[in-house]
């Protein structure tokens, strides 16, 4: 909760002194209702967010070549699922790729299978993905580098909690721990 407080302060400062960067990450509730969107799921099927009505959704943006932040978020969510026990089957993690060039549905499928959790991986055309990124006030940039890994993707790390009606309930910052996530989700599962 301490982190949430600081995240709020930082967000406030961002709004007040918003300079060159237009990072929206950390600003909770830019969307009040999780408007529907369409992307392609890890099985290559068309997917609408509205298909998850009735489920609690934890949504974030990432990419499978991500060495650090994404595995960390996935590990946190897997642990949060364990802490939620048998109620975890009413919670779905939605991983929205911001790397459509490499993250095909089958790549996403293999990636998510590793984490053994209730999850959906989404990809699409850049235009489709950009629309969802904008909707959530997230941000990413593809950075070309001389790295042997080719380009990498810098991205916002917020985690969005949507209730069973698809409304945004809370946004978790990257430094909010597993317990914050569990505490946010649990009241929705009563």
């Amino acid at each position: 909760m301490k982190y949430f407080f600081w995240a709020a302060i930082v967000s406030l400062l961002l709004v007040v002194g918003s300079g060159a960067q237009t990072v929206a990450a950390g600003k909770p509730a830019r969307i009040q209702t999780g408007r529907d969107f369409k992307l392609t799921d890890e099985n290559g099927r068309s997917f609408s967010l509205s298909q998850l009505r009735g489920k609690v959704v934890l949504l974030f943006f990432g990419y499978t070549h991500c060495p650090d932040a994404c595995p960390t978020t996935m590990a946190r969510l897997a642990r949060a699922g364990q802490l939620l026990g048998n109620k975890a089957d009413r919670v779905v993690t939605v991983f929205v790729s911001v790397d459509p060039g490499r993250d095909t549905p089958s790549v996403l499928k293999d990636y998510l299978a590793y984490f053994h959790m209730n999850s959906i991986g989404l990809t699409g055309t850049k235009t489709e993905i950009d629309a969802v990124v904008k909707e959530y006030g997230a941000k990413y940039e593809i950075e070309q580098s001389d790295s042997a890994a080719g380009y990498h993707v810098n991205h916002s790390t917020d985690l969005y909690l949507l209730d069973q009606k698809g409304s945004l309930v809370q946004t978790f910052g990257y430094n909010d721990g597993i317990q914050s996530i569990v505490d946010g989700v649990r009241p929705l599962l009563k």
Partner: protein, 167 residues
């Protein structure tokens, strides 16, 4: 269990491992090379390579590097027989935005230590030549600005096993 001979990292001045902790195989190496460990200015401990999903060829490796010498020393290069390329990278979180940067070296201050850890510095592991799973160990040869080279052997661990309290 993948067990790679330390001798795989060839050439140049070469110190033997000084990895503290994990796995039995490393303990036995420490027994053999304990004297070399004490002579070294650099001590490396708590190393681990993050297990990657089977389809992924990219991951990261982490460790704590201590410098007991009288001068700063920089980590400049890392190689491994089972990895195509290792680069030095740094993550920077700013306003919730995570940026990754490649760095030329990582300075270890005299009398201090640097922890390579999630959210900070890591060895960027690019191109796993074979699948690496929990229970495997990996040899990585580290090169420092003073010309020293040190081979370490670190365990492969899933990220979930390395979560810290409150993370």
């Amino acid at each position: 269990m993948i067990f790679l001979a330390l001798a795989l990292a060839v050439g140049g001045p070469h110190e033997q491992i000084s990895v503290h902790r994990p796995v039995a195989t490393i303990d036995s190496e420490l027994g053999m090379f304990g004297a070399a460990t004490q002579m070294s200015e650099i001590t490396i401990r708590d190393g681990w390579l993050q297990e990657a999903p089977p389809s992924q060829k990219i991951t990261a490796a982490y460790m704590v590097i201590e410098n007991h010498g009288k001068a700063d020393i920089a980590l400049t290069r890392a190689t491994s027989p089972v990895i195509d390329v290792i680069e030095l990278h740094k993550m920077e979180l700013s306003n919730g935005f995570m940026k990754m940067k490649r760095v030329e070296s990582i300075n270890i201050p005299s009398g201090g230590e640097v922890e390579l850890k999630p959210g900070g510095y890591h060895l960027m592991v690019i191109g796993l030549k074979q699948p690496l799973k929990e229970g495997d160990t990996v040899t990585i040869s580290l090169e420092f600005s003073n010309g020293r080279r040190q081979a370490i052997e670190i365990p492969v661990k899933p990220r979930s096993a390395m979560m810290k309290e409150g993370e």
